[in-house]
Amino acid sequence: MLNAKMARDSYSKSGSSRSSGRSSSSSGRSSSGGSSSRSSAHSSTRKAGVFRPSVSPTANFSRKPTEFSSKKRRDNPNFKKNEEGKYEFNPPKVKENGITFGSQKEFVPRGKSTRFNVEHNLSGDNPRNFKQTDAPKGGSSYSRNSSAPRSSPSYNSSNESSPRGEYSRNEYRGESRGFSNRNSFSNTGGSHSGFRSSTARSDTRSGEHRRDGERRDSDRRDSFRSTLKSNEGTSVRSDATRSQIRNGFRSEGSFSQRNEGRFEPRTQSDLRNSRDVPLDAPRNSYGGIKAREVSKQAFKQDSIRQDSIKSDSFKQDAPAKQQRDDFVSRDVSPRSHIQSSSPSTYSRDTQSAQNYPANISPTRLQGVFNFRRDFCTKALVPGSIYGERIYDGYRIWDPKRSKLGAGIAKGISQIGIKPGSVVLYLGCSTGTTVSHVSDIIGESGKVYGLDVAPRVMRDFLLSMAPRSNVFPIMADAAHPQDYAHLVEEVDVIFMDIAQRDQVSIFLKNCHAFLKPGGFGLLSLKSRSVDISKSPKQIFMETRAALEEDMVIVDYKELNPFEIDHALFVCKKK
């Protein structure tokens, strides 16, 4: 009897947030554990497993389900009582940095609130608000921070320790720190938050000295993500928090570098996400700002600065950057991995810019061009290799057929391949991607295309024969000693072989052939490594394995072009 009641009760209680994973699981627990104590069972029927002993459990059992709907509205800060005594949808206005959020068009999760930036009615009969004012002072990072004055956002690293208006429900209770962290770490399987939080953990493990404020901030971020994951996020978020959420939930991390708190957007994806790109800018078919527009901006900046990229004009983007540098290895200088920083290179590109055919414009990646919505390379030899379209001597690069092309379409910051490069391409197959690499490096470069399968080498030989910079090798990439006499020291190694021990083969080759400071590009197929593990987990493990010998510069997942693939861009130490 009691059991059934509890089940019904939990069902109707969780009705407002039935989509939330934690809420539903906790209600399952409460209904199954019939003989467990009433208070614990009841507490799990309340808000998502959070223990709230202050409310009498018996009161809820006596309630009829019809009362809950009005209770929901009363609980909800987005609803306010009007003159007739009815609750109307009227979300609170929030002011942050002069930008007003919380208009009626804004999507606001129901029943959620933040303490810092929500100026809603604290009086009245809202028990949640009552609890907030009762929050314990001291003992949690939240409380310590809450005593600090709300500062206007500044874009140096000291901002890390200042409150950003984020608020974790778990944290604000005294006992919850450990719980929230544990929760986020245990959710590594397939969840974004797990992936990121483990990242933060490995940062700590690597012995990097971080200030206490940063550490706290990182932990807080983790718990914040775990909170978000369970759909218990805050109702209205500040600007910084918004970008944090966005970045925290991005399926791929973008690696940016930190230099005394100054951040420079240098990738296309950075520029696409940056706020100084107008919202009505033309979008390409992949949802980003049209790369051509981006490249125009980029080249404008480059021509102004010539020798080095300064971050001043991009300062507005800094808060978003700050959240994103979990992945950054900080022991490289911020400019060291940018290719071709010499003024001559830039000026050459900018001078020849007006000579391009219509619809063709350069991208930030040397040798790669925009053509309408697509990318292309200037054909070294006339003619189509794999059935691709050709426009005015430029071959369109199909991201669905080339993993490097997919990486570029996803906005990878750099590929290391530029005119004159010597490239070792492991797993060249029939030469779809190699043909574009051959286009990029031009006559002065070299690409060693290696594959073990005779069938694909047959096609490779025939299609690459007219290209003077392609050198085929038929050998197993797992045994570099077999072809060591055929390959010189190279600038770039690209690997696209679907093997279980792909990463170790990659490292072996990088060790053997890659020059110090050279780029290693690894296209990883997680399903080949282990089909039973989640791709996220494999990417995480790969990252850890790569970082022993390499510095990871960028990382992109290749969906929707390739499922469960990721492209790692590394630099040899």
């Binding site: 005779p454 030989l461 077999d482 055929l486």
Partner: protein, 290 residues
């Protein structure tokens, strides 16, 4: 094509300058017309010097040498099993084509003589009977002209010749398999044997496979679904088509034992210089199964 660089009798380096454990006794870097040979037992080369030699060779090597080397590698990679696998695949595709063309043939011919078409269940027999042209003329079908009939016969001839081609290719596969893998073919039969070979990818690979993998060759989809989602594991793959498994009541057990026997046989064939059929040996393996 292989190269190993020996610095002295104890220290060996690869081209990249790394030490290796085993290597022959001299520097022998040969690539097409360019070659450097230096007996260097007593000369100590620094890793950078080794690298310099290789870099010099590779940079001076014309592209054609790489192409020639890979061409010869491709040429030498073609073995009997490569060709047998192509033949096996062509039989499968001929089956598909015969089915497709026969359905059209029946559809076409049945306007002329539906009763005759319905009296054959096998497509191929029907096509051959049409070519023979002996069929009862009492029919509900329409009279058609000679020109129309000859067009129908042309299609029937194609189906018939495809059928003949299939038989010939089966014989060819059987002949080749019995030369290179007599014991394996004796147990598996040429049809299942050729399919297993095709699924494994090469004779060498098939010989290296464990019995459990041979049992599940051809059931990859079910296997990976099992590994991924924890659904039921497959009990047999292509081996299911074998007569023993077909007749058995305990198909899973039979498939497992048969895979064990096949593994023994294929290894015997692969690692023997000139394999011959050893009937006693095969029968000894098969007694338990029978």
């Amino acid at each position: 094509m292989k190269v190993a660089i020996t610095v002295n009798s104890k220290e060996h380096y690869f081209a990249d300058g790394r030490k290796v454990d085993t290597a022959p006794s001299q520097i022998d870097v040969a690539l097409g017309s360019t070659s450097v040979t230096a007996a260097s037992r007593d000369v100590l080369l620094q890793p950078s010097e080794v690298h310099a030699i290789v870099t010099q060779i590779t940079q001076n090597t014309p592209k054609d040498v790489y192409y020639a080397a890979v061409s010869s590698q491709i040429r030498s990679s073609v073995t009997w099993d490569t060709l047998v696998m192509q033949a096996t695949k062509s039989i499968d595709e001929a089956d598909v084509s015969i089915n497709l063309l026969s359905k059209r043939l029946r559809e076409w011919f049945e306007w002329h003589n539906p009763e005759f078409s319905r009296s054959f269940s096998s497509h191929e027999e029907f096509a051959i009977a049409v070519i023979a042209g002996v069929y009862p003329q009492t029919t509900m079908g329409a009279d058609v002209s000679e020109a129309d009939l000859s067009a129908i016969f042309a299609l029937a001839t194609q189906v018939g010749s495809l059928s003949t081609y299939k038989d010939q290719t089966r014989e060819y596969i059987d002949k080749i398999l019995r030369v290179h893998a007599p014991n394996f073919t004796e147990v598996a039969g040429s049809a299942v044997g050729a399919k297993l070979l095709t699924s494994a990818g090469s004779f060498r690979r098939l010989a290296m496979l464990p019995a459990s993998t041979i049992q599940l060759l051809g059931a990859e989809k079910a296997l990976f679904r099992h590994l991924k989602t924890g659904s039921k594991s497959p009990k047999y793959g292509l081996i299911y088509q074998h007569n023993f498994v077909q007749r058995s009541r305990k198909k899973g057990t039979t498939a497992r034992s048969l895979a064990n026997i096949l593994t023994v046989c294929i290894r015997k064939d692969y690692f023997t210089q000139n394999p011959i059929l050893e009937t006693q040996f095969v029968e000894g393996l098969l007694t338990k199964l029978r």
